[in-house]
Subunit: 739 residues, 2 copies
């Protein structure tokens, strides 16, 4: 174990969807699941491009599974190679996290007993993100007539929410294009296609070449929507035939729609050779890891798993496009259809804020660009300001399904309420914008965009606040907090407090703006109609917001939480499903059992506001009530941080490892649908803010390390106000080596 390589040595069809998720590769522009080049029954072949959505039943819109660049079929004397054909003698798959190269090595006997060793390598270039590269090296043990079919498959289907198969692409054109090099490389293949509803045009180009071994004879099959190059060679015994396949994608989101094919052809022509493309990719990865890597000594599993989680963030993060966000399952599966949630702002964004501020800025700009959608949503609900959608895709409209068919009886529908009443996301986004500002010191961006996010969400919160005349306080009733086991609750502490924070911060931001960016302040005052009366209302909302709590300092998950049934979670063990699945939606709602502990989440976000004793009290109360194993996958990483804060490193480590293993070990049984992005982002926070104990304010940062006992060393880097900081913790003296 070198700390950088995720390996698989046994192929099991029953686990193939899990492994497809794990072996996803990508580059922030697109990502491709780890399916086999030659295909396998029931495989879920996907390539998702950021921002390429198309309408779909129930879920409004979804990432449109793009034309497939992987197809490469191999025939030995007519026998088709496949993992379910002949006999697989040896198998190994390895994902090198250091440079994103996925390698599969198979020693295979055909049904006729002819043996060959086949090595597939692929990567999505981080240096040239429109480019994906594939190489196969074939070594037959006996002389063989080898045929290869290399295609772009335009018929990519999506798995719908009901198991239906959806097609999103309308064929437009395809063909063979003589490349810039003339006959030497012969023709490259192109495909042009378009999403049915959103009308995104996509051009894909494929170049195939041989760099080692004999030249291959070539033939083109102009088969509609599956343009294919046929290659043929007679290989001697032991001779290695190497074929490289380069594919490029451009869409009308990138260039003029008339240019998508040319741009793709130019991209594949620009590749010099495999080594060159790989070297550029590796160099780009080296830079990423320089900023992002975390070193854990004394815990090989945690080291590798953490890098795996960071890798998932790095291949999902849009580097040049600020019109897209990261879906709850990244670009790695059909789960949540590519929709973005608060998962981005609260769970993933800190990693980028501190290690790649340019990416954090892109993600926040996405929200700023879609303010119009948030304003429309607020207006449709009768409010002012910006109410961000619970689920967001390309247009900024709410894309949470309102109804989904019941999983047991399709004729029944289940109403999904999150899009209507899980309103805390507007405060989460404001919080993230503020956090980026504090950490980056990017006043220019904040004056131009960040302040508007905070002010307009504050406007929403003030409008949404309900005045309780009897109690003389503001309330938010009929909401869902982060803890989705309880819906239609009143005065969820997390929601109320973060809304209050949002409005209060808006007032502070306004004061700051007037001082440091008077022109922008004036503009925003006018544009958002921030009259003295409105600001007075804001102050009133801040002052009189209801925050349900007991006199002893116990914050209440929501107003009548203590009236719910107490259930001993241990009495439900053993179980392999969530409390909600076990007790039913209504059943779970009636208990004090939590999908995640909102109060602890809030104490983490606003950590400077609570005493150690108060944290301890609430930690002790909520921890045993939380479904850590099968509740929210967002919980464990944050729980690890809070466990660190109350001095329970063993507990912290257990929660941390649960988060780290979410996908690698499929601990929740749903990794087939894609990477748990929030969990992955959370692992970095657990490291830095939990074990590392980093605290950041506008005045600077401090460390309070609390490493698991068996860790020898923890080292990471971050940026604070544009300056790089290096933290290197030696567990023996547990002292800060920060610079």
């Amino acid at each position: 174990m070198n700390g950088w390589t995720v390996t698989q040595t046994v192929f099991d069809s029953a686990r193939q969807h899990h492994h497809e998720t794990i072996f996803t590769i990508g580059n922030g522009y697109l990502a491709t699941r780890g399916t086999f080049e030659e295909g396998h029954p029931q495989d879920r072949r996907t390539t998702f491009l950021h921002g390429v959505f198309d309408a779909a039943p129930f879920v409004v819109t979804e990432l449109a599974n793009a034309p497939d660049w992987l197809p490469l079929e191999i025939f030995f004397n007519g026998a088709r190679f496949g993992m379910n054909q002949g006999t697989v003698r040896e198998f190994e798959r390895a994902l090198d996290l250091q440079n994103g190269v996925l390698t599969r090595r198979v020693m295979w006997d055909s049904a006729q007993g002819e043996r060959a060793t086949i090595v597939f390598e692929r990567f999505c270039s981080l240096a040239a993100p429109h480019l994906v590269c594939l190489r196969v090296s074939i070594t037959p043990q006996h002389a063989a007539d080898i045929k290869l079919r290399a295609s772009i498959n335009g018929i990519a289907l999506s798995d719908g929410t009901q198991g239906e198969k959806l097609a999103h692409w309308e064929f437009l054109a395809q063909g063979l294009s003589r490349d810039a090099w003339g006959g030497e490389r012969e023709g490259n293949v192109f495909l042009r296609t378009r999403t049915f509803h959103s009308q995104v045009e996509l051009g894909a180009a494929m170049r195939v070449q041989t760099t080692r071994g004999k030249e291959l004879t070539r033939e083109f099959w102009d088969a509609r929507n599956v343009p294919t190059l046929l290659l043929r060679v007679n290989a001697e015994a032991g001779e290695t035939v190497v074929v490289e396949k380069y594919v490029a994608y451009f869409t009308s989101r990138d260039v003029e729609k008339t240019r998508v094919v040319d741009a793709a052809l130019n991209q594949v022509n620009a590749v010099r050779d495999w080594d060159d493309a790989l070297a550029e990719n590796s160099a780009a990865w080296e830079k990423e890891w320089e900023r992002t890597d975390v070193v854990i000594e004394g815990d090989d599993e945690a080291q590798l798993a953490l890098r795996f989680n960071l890798f998932q963030m790095l291949i999902a993060a849009p580097r040049t496009d600020d019109r897209v966000n990261i879906g709850a399952k990244t670009l790695s599966g059909f789960g949540y259809r590519g929709h973005a949630f608060w998962d981005t702002e609260i769970f993933m964004l800190p990693l980028f804020i501190y290690t790649a501020p340019h990416i954090a800025k892109n993600l926040l700009n996405y929200r700023h660009r879609l303010l119009s959608g948030a304003r429309a949503k607020a207006k449709a609900n009768g409010y002012e300001g910006a109410q961000f959608p619970w689920e967001s895709a390309d247009t900024g409209e709410e894309v949470t399904p309102t109804w989904v068919p019941h999983y047991l009886d399709r004729s029944k529908l289940i109403r999904i309420w999150t899009g209507d009443i899980e309103i805390h996301i507007s405060a989460d986004i404001a919080y993230a914008a503020h956090q980026y500002w504090v950490a980056s010191g990017d006043d220019a961006w904040f004056s131009e965009k960040g302040a508007e996010l905070i002010l307009d969400t504050a406007k929403f919160w003030a409008a949404r606040a309900e005045w309780n005349e009897t109690e003389q306080r503001y309330e938010y009733n009929d909401v869902i907090g982060p803890d989705e086991y309880h819906d239609h609750v009143n005065n969820n502490y997390y929601t109320n407090r973060l809304a209050q924070w949002n409005v209060q911060t808006a007032l502070e931001v306004l004061a700051w703006l007037k001082q440091h960016a008077p022109h922008e302040a004036e503009q925003l005052l006018e544009q958002l109609d921030l009259s003295p009366a409105r600001l007075a209302k804001w102050r009133d909302v801040v002052e009189k917001m209801y925050l349900p709590a007991l006199p002893n300092g116990l914050l209440l998950q929501f107003q009548d939480f203590l009236e719910r049934k107490e259930v001993d979670l241990a009495s439900l063990e053993p179980r392999v499903i969530s409390v909600q699945a076990l007790l039913g939606i209504e059943g779970a709602n009636e208990t004090q059992l939590l999908k995640q502990p909102d109060v602890l989440m809030l104490m983490y976000l606003l950590q400077n506001e609570f005493s150690h004793e108060q944290v301890q009290l609430n930690y002790d109360f909520y921890t045993p009530r939380t479904d850590h194993t099968y509740g929210s996958s967002l919980g464990p990483a944050i729980q690890a941080i809070m466990a660190c804060q109350v001095g329970k490193p063993d507990d912290a480590y257990e929660h941390f490892m649960r988060a780290l293993r979410a996908d690698l070990y499929d601990v929740r049984g749903n990794a087939d649908d894609g990477i748990h992005a929030a969990s992955a982002g959370g692992t970095w926070q657990a490291i830095v803010f939990g074990f590392g104990g980093l605290r950041v304010t506008r005045d600077g940062w401090t460390l309070e390390p609390r490493l698991p006992k068996h860790w020898k060393r923890l080292a990471f880097r971050f940026f604070y106000r544009g300056k790089p900081a290096v933290v290197d913790l030696d567990n023996e003296n547990a002292k800060t080596q920060g610079t």
Copy 2:
């Protein structure tokens, strides 16, 4: 106009979907819309096979658009032929109703100015229903290098209800098979595929040959899911190249799933040549028309249009399979997803009962086979007996969508109530079984199956009847009658009366059985638990069923119908949308305007029970309240019959022509979705029971002709109790020539 040919001489892309519907061909096993072999942008290419359903969002299940047999692309010196390429100089399309052959003749100039004449002919063999045949004759004006690509396209998509594109087929295998004739005909192509959910396996085979002109060079593209034969020939100027393409389909509904490909290959090999296949097809059609044709002299339009409607029935009718029904849009489009409604029993079945009793029996057997589903539905609703689903597909379960997205706002759902409360279908089916028995005299079938249909639906009706203690009567409340403008109504006359008829007839059937089939009677008594107490309840239901009517003989559409708003229909003119679309679902519900007049429908079905005066009274009351133009497409044919009964031949003719033109002239603007099957079936009833005035009882039949003035002659045939009858009416003396 020869009375047999539907022609089109101008191609208009904007009307292509309408023409695709009109130029649908089929043979009772499958049908294919009239799309072009070479493809055209936005065409809706479909081939539907009876009974091949697959799960789909919202609509539960739908006909799975099968692999496409049409693809045939032609290149002249590299220029691809297409109706949107180069210049179309001449164009004619003709559907010969006499033998189901669709011909397209195009004189075309390529962009390079090379002219060719291309004639496409195709038919779905009525003699060998697994076989479809296509021939193209190409005559270039100048010598040309002609290439053809003939494929089976396994990637057939369905248009979902929301405009989404659904894929139903999972690729299994394909290849080239040396045929029984060895090298002479060279290899035939096969494809094996399977529906994703229902797991129907399908084998398709394609044979391509040249019978006139030069032999073609051949090449096979093994492109996944689109196996393709490439053909190439150098044609001299003026030389005609003729290529024939035969495709066969077999599914696991027809043969063992391991045999589907072999069966298809055998079928295409069994074809001797085009002339032979065509001759067999034409001979089969001749027999159909001998039974089915109706001659109208003095009205060319009505003559052709009527034959067109009869043709639609003939190509949709299952001849050998009694596990399938005819969908509301036949096999000709995506509308209603292939689901069968009461349309079959009440609108289409009489044609078959009287002209093709074996088909009528198949369709009724379909209901008998699915009694288990009807019993399950009754049970799920808390009743006994058989409650047939409002929409029915392959399993007998209710497949009416319960919710569909609002057409203006996808996040809203509209509840569809017909599956829950449009209960009259159970009586409609009983009525049809009885009608078949009366007309056919098929006592054996009736004892074995028909009686059970009537008894078990009666059992349902007796259980469903609600006793009104105050009024001392039985009621059916909260229902939808045929008139769907009014839902959740109480005591719909049609429903109550036909339910009463159903129970009463069941009692009579039981008496008949005891006398004529005592063994079956005993079996049914036991199996259906028809205890004396139950039968006493039946008699009580018959006696005390509430039938809302005024003392003057006006039957009420439903109980409080007269309390609805009176609206002058003329005041809403001009309009090109339905009253419901104009006033909204709630708006229409509040008025006395009708989608169709249930009371008149009932008077037609039970015509021997009403006096002429009572018919006249109700006709005069309901006719002006009915949305004849854009209400139910089921209405006009029946309205024509009732107009005949009240001696209004001009009105009758107007309604009749509206029914006849429904699809040919797309008078409702929705022929794109497929043929209006009930309207087509109704036109035959309008002819025979309306203008012909046929009345049939168990004692015999009578005629009371009332022909439109301008008709010179009306002739038709029918079977009565196994014996053929010929009716030939001369309008001058309007006397019966029946034998």
